[in-house]
């Protein structure tokens, strides 16, 4: 088990390094990075000052070292617009994004898992076809369009739900639905295929041969085994949700990190953009790592095999 953890940790660290390197390189190698790293409307003198301050004439690897050392100290630059350290800004918005992502995740699992199980148990019959349609729609309807249409319907026409902001529980319903929609379809698909695989396994066959009631076969033997990949994916998807909620948060003016990213773009506030992408990516790598470990804990086989 220890060897497994160490190996995974190594991969995670390598990925984090590659991530920071990618972001660093893209900024430094395209055009004049100083323009990005300076407020819009800065003068030539400001540009020169930034050049010197960031050492943009030094060799790349020196710059990267500087970049990394500031990162590790928690210094991700200051926002031009808000004039506060970006890290603080990010952390203040993060709880909102997590709340939204959690709500969306709950929705997607509540819809996705049962429909996936039903589709698998009633494979190739009506439920399965309905499920396949649902999966297709989930992939084809952009989340932000779903959000916009919902606003049209529930806020403008029916007046039931508020169209923006984050004041109450009512405020989170539509954004959670819009965000969770795609993932509900993804979870349904995975549950279905995982369930189908498990239903075809030898131990389910033996469970039936033992004469166990079908409800027990599916509810006990098939369910737990089928759920493992789904929950794994769900864990990773939670963090992905935080990242891709950009558009949904923008549509609903939900004050999370997605909205922060949008503001960064709209106000040409590059430090915000860079930091959001960096932290977002790092979160995913970290969560991937923990989910891998968790997977090994839940499924006893993996512990001993790796």
């Amino acid at each position: 088990m220890k060897r497994f953890i160490v190996k995974r940790l190594g991969y995670a660290i390598l990925s984090l390094l590659l991530l920071s390197l990618t972001i660093f390189l893209f900024v430094r190698l395209t055009g004049d990075p100083a323009v990005l790293l300076v407020e819009p409307g800065a003068s030539k003198e400001d540009l020169a000052a930034i050049h010197a301050q960031l050492g943009l004439d030094r060799p790349l690897w020196v710059q990267y070292g500087q970049f990394m050392s500031s990162l590790l100290r928690g210094d991700l630059g200051n926002s031009f617009y808000y004039r506060t350290p970006v890290l603080d800004l990010y952390l203040s918005r993060l709880p909102y994004s997590l709340l939204l992502a959690a709500a969306a995740m709950v929705f997607s699992l509540l819809v996705g898992i049962p429909s996936g199980i039903l589709a698998a148990v009633r494979v190739n019959r009506w439920w399965d076809s309905a499920g396949k349609l649902f999966a297709l729609l989930g992939l084809s309807l952009p989340s932000f369009w779903v959000g916009l249409v919902m606003i049209l319907f529930f806020s403008v026409y029916l007046g039931w739900l508020p169209s923006s902001g984050s004041g109450s529980a009512l405020h989170v319903i539509m954004p959670a639905f819009a965000l969770g929609w795609y993932f509900a379809a993804a979870h349904m698909r995975l549950t279905r295929s995982s369930m189908l695989e498990v239903l075809g396994s030898e131990y389910v066959k033996l469970a039936r041969l033992k004469g166990l009631p079908e409800a027990l076969v599916i509810g006990k033997h098939a369910f737990k085994n089928a759920l493992i990949p789904v929950l794994t994916l769900a864990g990773i998807n939670l963090v992905i949700m935080v990242n891709v909620a950009v558009v949904v948060e923008t549509v609903f003016a939900w004050p999370g990190v997605g909205r922060l990213l949008y503001e960064g773009i709209a106000f040409r506030d590059f430090p915000v953009v860079q930091a959001t992408v960096l932290i977002g990516g790092a979160m995913i790598v970290v969560v991937n790592f923990f989910v891998d470990i968790l997977y090994a804990v839940i499924d006893p086989r993996i512990r001993y095999e790796r």
Binding site: Y203, K205, R208, L209, G211, N225
Partner: protein
């Protein structure tokens, strides 16, 4: 006294998704088995042995259907039983062991749990009692330290032990008939003999009837009272084990027996049977074995031979072995 299991004219078919291709996996199979006796079903892979076993348990995949025949178990007809009653029989009076013990056991539940759940489902044994019984059953299949093993997961046991657990599950509710589908094929050679001995002991102690499905004639010679040789879905020869081994009638049976390497044989080459087993979806006309048969005559290519008796217990399907066989030819 009627036999424990009477199968007659059993036919199972697989139908392709669009209903166009029909594969006869089990074709006109008949045999009987008395209580406490062992029947060996021998054949190559693809001969339909496993389908036959699943048909008896009425647990076929959706693509398969039982096309005809009858299965009488303890005097009751199984093929027409409603699902609920069949479920009550499965695992309780009629049990089955599968080939790969690692795959047969659910990796997420303890060994004890998987034994206990059978007891709780069929005999409504309360939880604690079921666990105690599970421990006793582990001891009955010769697993050391059963109290510890009962709480362990399948991957913590060796292959041989896992197969014993599967055996414990099978006998837990005191079945009258145990079907073992290649139970030793996944085991190490050194463990196989131990396992077979265990099965034999259990059988004698509990008066179990057994159906032993295998491709290994050595096991058949050791464990079985009767043998049924299966080829392309049909039983080409059935009879007491002595008759089959001493006077094999069907060319396929003969070839199988000849291909067993015998210690101290003067000849150094192994005799294999020429050719390949036929594709079940595209069987040759007439006798399915004729393309590979060294004794083939014209009649074999045209008509499929019906079953005929060489002696009261010994039957075969072969124009060469039983030329006077009477019966409507089936293509």
């Amino acid at each position: 006294m009627s036999a424990l299991l009477e199968v007659s004219g059993l036919c199972t078919q697989y139908v392709s998704a669009r209903g166009t291709r029909v594969t006869r996996a089990v074709d006109d199979v008949s045999f009987t088995l008395e209580a406490g006796r062992t029947l060996g079903i021998v054949g190559e892979s693809g001969s339909g042995k496993t389908t036959l076993a699943l048909t008896l348990m009425r647990l076929l995949p959706p693509a398969a259907r039982i096309a005809g025949g009858s299965v009488r178990f303890g005097g009751e007809e199984l093929l027409t039983k409603p699902d609920g009653e069949m479920r009550a029989i499965r695992g309780k009076r009629l049990a089955m062991i599968l080939q790969d013990p690692m795959a047969s056991l659910n990796p997420l539940f303890t060994v004890g749990d998987q034994i206990a759940e059978t007891l709780r489902a069929h005999e409504a044994t309360p939880r604690r009692a079921a666990w105690t019984r599970a421990r006793e059953l582990l001891a009955a299949v010769n697993i050391a330290a059963p109290a510890r093993r009962v709480g362990e997961y399948p991957h913590q046991l060796s292959g041989g032990m896992r197969q014993r657990v599967v055996g414990a599950i099978a006998i837990s509710c005191g079945p009258q008939l145990l079907i073992a589908d290649e139970p030793t094929t996944s085991l190490d050679v050194t463990i196989q003999a131990q396992y077979l001995k265990l099965l034999g002991d259990i059988q004698r102690a509990r008066g179990l009837a057994m159906i032993f499905i295998t491709h290994n004639l050595g096991i058949v010679a050791r464990m079985c009272d009767q043998v049924a040789v299966m080829y392309a879905g049909r039983l080409v020869e059935t009879g007491p084990v002595r008759s089959i081994f001493n006077e094999p009638a069907h060319p396929y049976t003969r070839a199988l027996i000849e291909s067993i390497p015998k210690f101290g044989d003067a000849a150094e080459r192994l005799t294999a049977i020429e050719g390949q087993p036929p594709d079940p979806a595209a069987l040759p006309p007439g006798c399915a074995f004729h393309p590979r048969c060294p004794y083939v005559i014209d009649r074999c290519r045209a008509e499929a031979p019906p079953e005929s008796h060489l002696s009261p217990q010994h039957r075969t399907r072969c124009w060469v072995a039983a030329p006077a066989a009477v019966g409507a030819a089936r293509g």
